[in-house]
């Protein structure tokens, strides 16, 4: 799905670079207006904000912490652990008697963090790599893009599993692995965009006044890529969250007692047949709603920045 939207982004990139020099400012203003008019996107943004807010404020309403065990409920989740205001387990408990409400909050924080950090790594590496490659051009560009081709042919999920096995599971490794997994497309798109920008007057002017290549890339090229990068990033986040859930399913995700949506969902899915459906439904609901929202926001952003598709 990450790559799925690449083509749309490429077409958007073309539009952006075409419009930019003539109506740079009004494009952004237009885009904002268009985005605000997109009901689905705005609603999604609102819901997503609520979820993020919930993950920070939620703990203040919790009776139990995410790692605390309710010894009375432990082992009888199906009969005593159902969601209830009375026991303080608003979303019920898991098999160990831990509070799903608090665990969902904890999982939300971790999963969103994995998504955002993973996407950030991908965006930073991809942008710098692509911009450098495109800006310098020539043989360097050739070699750098060949390297991307080579990396793309590597089955990354397999390598990620290997990495987690080799270096032991840690959240840092997960970030690094997922970041490695996702920056390649980004770098290609950015490179193409940079090739367009390179010949624009303002870059040539900067060059003529003797600004260093490094500064040109950081000050002039990268800021002009922000639009496309932003859209791409929103599309990356769900993919990374899904990847993390897969890794959690294989038992290579975050360490207990911390948790993530993937870990919660895979635990809940395991016990679906044993009358404890809340163990699956609550984390799954958060997971699905969030991903829905991010998709709609991404679509909204793309539509807003790409007037042609209206």
């Amino acid at each position: 799905m990450i790559v799925a939207n690449k083509n749309k982004i490429i077409s958007m990139a073309k539009n952006l670079s075409e419009d930019k020099t003539t109506s740079g400012r009004s494009l952004w203003a237009d885009a904002r207006t268009r985005f605000i008019r997109n009901k689905a996107a705005i609603t999604s943004l609102f819901i997503l904000a609520l979820i993020v807010l919930f993950s920070f404020v939620g703990p203040y309403f919790a009776v139990w912490t995410y790692e605390q065990i309710d010894w009375n409920t432990m082992g009888s989740a199906a009969t005593l652990g159902m969601p209830s205001i009375e026991t303080g387990h608003y979303f019920g408990t898991d098999d160990l008697g831990r509070d799903i409400y608090s665990r969902v909050i904890q999982g939300t924080q971790i999963s969103l963090m994995v998504g955002v950090v993973g996407a950030t790594i991908a965006v930073v590496v991809g942008t710098l790599y692509g911009a450098t490659s495109g800006y310098i051009g020539g043989r360097t560009d050739q070699i750098m893009m060949r390297i991307v081709d080579i990396l793309m042919a590597i089955p990354f999920m397999f390598v990620l599993i290997l990495l987690l096995v080799v270096f032991g599971r840690s959240i840092v490794m997960l970030f690094v692995g997922i970041g490695l997994l996702s920056w390649l497309d980004m770098s290609r798109i950015v490179r193409g965009q940079t090739l367009n920008l390179k010949n624009k007057e303002f870059i040539e002017a900067a060059k003529a006044t003797g600004v260093s290549d490094y500064k040109i890339i950081m000050r002039h090229i990268v800021p002009n890529l922000l639009g496309i990068v932003a859209v791409y990033a929103t599309l990356l986040v769900p993919g990374i969250i899904i990847a993390e859930s897969f890794i959690s399913f294989l038992g290579l995700g975050v360490q207990e007692p911390k948790t993530s949506w993937g870990a919660l969902i895979s635990e809940g899915a395991g016990t679906i047949n044993y009358d404890t459906e809340w163990q699956l439904l609550f984390p799954l609901a958060f997971f699905i709603v969030t991903l829905f929202c991010i998709y709609f926001i991404g679509d909204g952003l793309r539509d807003a920045l790409d007037p042609k598709e209206r």
Partner: protein, 307 residues
């Protein structure tokens, strides 16, 4: 064109070599080895076993021996875990299975995905559209490790229509649930891509012209809209294919299909070096091959692209 193909294959060889080197190194860097076990082997026994498999040699030596075996005899080595089997046998047994349910998932994902996307685009902003979009995003975000057990509970336990797992040479009733579980998220992606690219084409000037000329809708659709809308779908097929192979891990775990995916994960956990290498190389080679095919397809559909 031929030049292009040769060049791509030229890149494929160093790519595979890098992949082999990285995997080889990573594997040997992993803690423990194929013969680490709960009841540790006496040093003498361990030495005997390592000597038998050449694991007492330096890494570079092992790697060259390994490569030499592949080049000269197409021999990917023995499994350290399943003593009586070679990697060639394991892949020979598991790969056709993965290929079969992978292929049908691919067919279903493309067929259903494109139809769903096209219907949504044509009926844009009606309830049909919303329904199709909703379904496709929903299908995309429902993890398949949730879908698989649900399918088994519904179709096997409640309805009793389908066997809960196994392969039996790939009879259809053993194929249904794996294909559903594996194809859904790709079907959803394809539907979304088709919808948006088709909307784009529908709004293009030449379609407006065609409409203005009063051409019948059917003709416009099949002659002018359909083919160009498929371009982005095709470029998605490469990554989708890799995704299917990775996804096969879950299918093998839940449906006991005996495909390659679980062999890989198992081999990684068991440190079954040769099996892990063999599968990684195979998947790497397939990924390269598939992206080449996709690029060629792309050129064939879009005459503007020339290599």
């Amino acid at each position: 064109m031929l030049n292009y193909i040769i060049k791509r294959i030229g890149i494929a060889i160093p790519t595979l070599l890098i992949l082999i080197a990285v995997t080889f190194y990573l594997m040997h860097a992993a803690p423990g080895g194929p013969f680490t076990s709960e009841k540790p082997l006496p040093p003498q026994v361990l030495a005997n076993i390592e000597a038998k498999y050449g694991l007492d040699q330096p890494i570079w030596r092992q790697m060259t021996t390994y490569l030499w075996g592949i080049l000269t005899e197409f021999d990917f080595g023995p499994s350290y875990k399943y003593h009586s089997r070679t990697v060639n046998e394991i892949i020979g047994q598991g790969f056709p299975i993965t290929l079969k349910y992978g292929f049908w998932s691919f067919v279903v994902a493309i067929g259903v995905g494109i139809s769903l996307g096209a219907i949504a685009a044509i009926r844009k902003n009606t309830w049909v559209d919303y329904f199709a979009v909703g379904i496709s995003i929903g299908a995309q975000v429902l993890p398949n490790f949730v879908m698989a057990p649900l399918l088994i509970i519904v179709f096997t336990l409640w309805l009793g229509w389908l066997p809960g797992g196994g392969w039996h040479g790939g009879d259809w009733e053993y194929l249904v649930m794996p294909v559903i579980a594996l194809s859904t998220s790709y079907m959803a992606s394809i539907a979304r891509i088709t919808r948006s690219s088709m909307l784009e084409v529908l709004n293009a000037n030449y379609i407006r012209t065609a409409r203005a000329k009063g051409l019948p809708t059917k003709t416009i659709f099949f002659r002018h809209v359909f083919k160009p809308s498929l371009l982005p779908v095709i470029s998605y097929l490469g990554p989708a294919f890799v995704g299917l192979i990775t996804g096969s891990v879950l299918i093998d775990i839940f449906f006991s299909t005996g495909g390659m995916g679980y062999f890989f994960v198992n081999a990684a956990f068991n440190r079954d070096y040769a099996v892990m290498m063999g599968i990684t190389i195979l998947v790497g080679a397939l990924t390269i091959l598939f992206s080449l095919i996709v690029d060629l397809l792309y050129a064939w559909i879009d005459p503007k692209i020339r290599y």
